[in-house]
Amino acid sequence: MKQGSLDHQDLPNWANRFLEWYCADELIDEIQGDLLEAFYYRKQTYGLRKARWWFIWDVLKFFRPSSFRKRSFNSIPIAMFKNYIVVSLRNFRKQKGYSFINLSGLVAGIAACLLISLHVLKELSYDNFHPKAESTYRVVMDMYGNGQLKVKSAPVYPAVAPALLAEFPEVEMVTRILPFGGGVYSVKTASGTLVRYNEEHAVLADANFFEMFGFELIEGDKREALNEANRIVLSESAAARYFGDKDPIGQSIYWRGTRELMVTGVFKDFPENSHMKFELITSLKSWNGYEDWPNNWGWYDFYTFVKTADNVDQETLDARLETFLDGKKAEMYEKYNAREVLWTQNIRDIHLYSEGLGWDMGENGGADQIYFLSVIAALILIIAWVNYVNLATARAVKRAKEVGIRKVVGAYRSNLLLQFLVESFLYNLFAVLLAGLLVALAVPYINGALEFTLDRHLLLSTEVLSGLLVMVIAGSLCSGLYPAFVLTSFQPVKVLKGKIYKRNGSFGFRQVLVIFQFTASITLILGTFLVVKQLNYMRNQELGINIDQTLVIHSPSSGRDEEDLENRLKLFKEELNATPGIAGFTLSNSVPGIENFFISGYTSKHYPNQLRDIYRMYIDENFFDQFEIDLIAGRSFDKNLKTDTAAVLLNLNAMNHLGFNTPEEAIGEKVNPGNEQSWNIIGVVENYHQASLKEDLDPIIFFYNPNAGNYYSLKLSGSSLGSIMDDVEAKWDAIYPDNPFDYFFLDERFDRQYKSDEQFNAVFIGFAALAIFVACLGLFGLVSFTAEQSKKEIGIRKVLGASSNALVMLLAKDYAKLILVAIVLAFPLGYYWMSSWLNNFAYQTNIGAGIFIFGGSLMALIAFLTVSFKSFSAANNNPVNVLRDE
């Protein structure tokens, strides 16, 4: 019979090779033979394509345990690997105490790292969801006077945006945001009641807002929602606030009582990780704040965003922007020896890198803080790894016999190394799993207690998971390698004969590690004390202004016209006069603790050709009296003098800033805001803190404006706060039914400026405690091990008459030395670190010796308690118990 022969080229080769790879030798004949034969005949009957598929399918169906080679399952490496794991687990169970110390240290360290990475990941994710975020920039401005940087401003001139679009071909889109939408918004319901709220997060923006940014417009048209005057879009929650379940589209909402705006869209609430927090956005075309504003080069109130073409890099853009304003404002620059330079921030950098920029949209995070936190987390993790190294090497003696036996029966050193690495891998793996679980459970509580917004779902993000994987591997190597080398260096003969490995008392690696741990812990303790001290210092500092017992009401902005509001203000004042418990009333455009957006340049006789930047305050005649701001010279405003509308007062800083040497010299002089009008200086007052003590004292100029202000401040006297509040609110509602009664207590509001510092403080204390806990765990483990090792020695000494105290000293003195060295090392380190942190504050407490004394002795005390806890029980043991069995 003529036989055809198989053409191997037609076969799916990989499948054939795969078959040959997995198939047992004794089965290959029948299995491969049958499949090849089937392939041969099927090719003739069904064609090559089908035969190939069939062949692959058959190969896959044969891929089952019964066809596999058997030998790999009994191979020695696998068996040994199993043995390593079994022995590790057995050791773990046998020595529960040490294992617990090791594991809990690692868990604490990794949990700290995880918490911080959750925070860091969130901070880094700010504003990266915008379309083409990589080429979206905010244009900001540095302002120089006499060649010196005076101020950095986040908002810029309204004319910048259109000019950039016209003159820079690489700029594809520009959007301006004006933060002046605040005030009362109200809606009339069908039943006639008025829904009204004072809105803080309200702005005006260019029509392309929703094309520029990645915020989601749920209802309404992206392009048209803001392209006409008197249009407004609301966030979902704002829409629910004003309209409930009703469809808001097409409805009217009134701004400041009279301005009717039509709702043309609803957007999804802005995500947490954006530096913008707007709830109401009105079309910029609705605004007419100053004449011909789109061509204005004088008012810098507009946050300006640009989107560039893809291939434009930031440096070239900045280089072109640097001289951009020179062409526009040359005359003014020359006259006042000033200069202004535009530059850009990528939108993703705004949150972390806006430090020093004035008039930003809100509180931003800082890259510094992230750096500090990361360093602390890394320290804790390293301390935990050091624990592992210390305890594992200390326990080497216990494992020496095991190592000896293994070597005798033929283990190579590499096998033993692998064994101990497997062990440390298991520890790290368990620790990571436990820490992950712990963090996932703890995050809601931490968020609640510290007002954080950590997102635990980030735990499952690729960044965190891959980070953990790296952590497990790096951790097992870092913490496993050194003990593994120590343990495997034993000589089997010596060890098995019973000669116990002992390093003689020189300054060994383990000692260095203990010193490192405690240096880090003490530095953290010192830091904690300093943070607390600085916060207290800032809180207790004289503000130069009395803000106690002061109720501040957001002034009414909804009224028929200015005259109407003025009349109602008169009425309200009269009513308050008649109210018991109200000791005073004043109004102003800003109060301490609230950022002052009003600033302008002024000339004086000492600086005739230079505009000196001074913050503007508009106040009534009661302001200085009520807030107890000291008048140094001259007089305050007088409501009976008509000329006081052209008068100003300066604070001491502003006086110096304008070049006057004494208050007396300043009085009667004039200041000029760079136009025809000039103002007479009638008095000088003491400086006071408008902002928190992180900032310097501002120069302030006071103008007289008794008829309107953003804030009404009421001085309260008497104790029945509740009834006073009810009274005031009832009177408010009678006079201002169209305005919400929206108030705060000034001291609380001022204190809120320290919220982020307080959070930082809490985090710092938490981590410092964690670091000390982990370090002490390790110390405890080491001491108990020494006590265990020398229990016979202690027994004999005791029998011979040593006192318990002497024995405790015997055990503790080695560690006492280490702690002392750590304290000595930590002091200069801590000092350096603390002084660099203090530089963030304008008003700094002194570091002082107290912190060092207290911190050092606290650490010494904790360490002593840890050491003596174990030493005492060892020293108080009945010597019979330890000496009996031998």
Binding site: Q3, G4, S5, L6, H8, I28, D29, E30, I31, Q32, G33, D34, L35, L36, E37, A38, Y40, Y41, W57, D58, K61, F62, R64, S66
Partner: protein, 110 residues
């Protein structure tokens, strides 16, 4: 017979019995497809053959190699005496049942 046979096992045992000296994985699969009008995979055939051999109903020996098998040898199966008698028993008991079938003339219905 104490051992019970599944449907597929019985069919394949029969196929092996009717193909003396020719029964190995591929040919059994082809014969199955031809007679039973449906396909099962060669790996399934192998499993059944192995099981039958374990039960002692068939025995195997290695046969010659051919070129279309890529030089691989065949494992050739043949029915053992036990296997044959099992088949006969099954046949017998079925026969009895068939004889008990009542003779009904369906054409007279209705």
């Amino acid at each position: 017979m104490s051992q019970s046979l599944g449907n597929l096992e019985e069919t394949i045992l029969l196929l092996v019995a009717v193909m003396p000296e020719e029964a190995y994985g591929y040919t059994v699969a082809e014969a199955y497809a031809e007679h039973m009008k449906s396909r099962i995979s060669i790996s399934a055939i192998h499993t059944v053959l192995k099981r039958l051999e374990k039960k002692g109903l068939i025995s195997s020996k290695m046969g010659g190699a051919t070129a279309e098998r890529g030089g691989r040898r065949k494992r050739i199966f043949e029915v053992t005496k036990v296997g044959l008698s099992t088949l006969e028993q099954i046949q017998e008991s079925r026969q009895k049942l068939w004889q008990m079938m009542p003779k009904v003339n369906f054409s007279y219905q209705l």
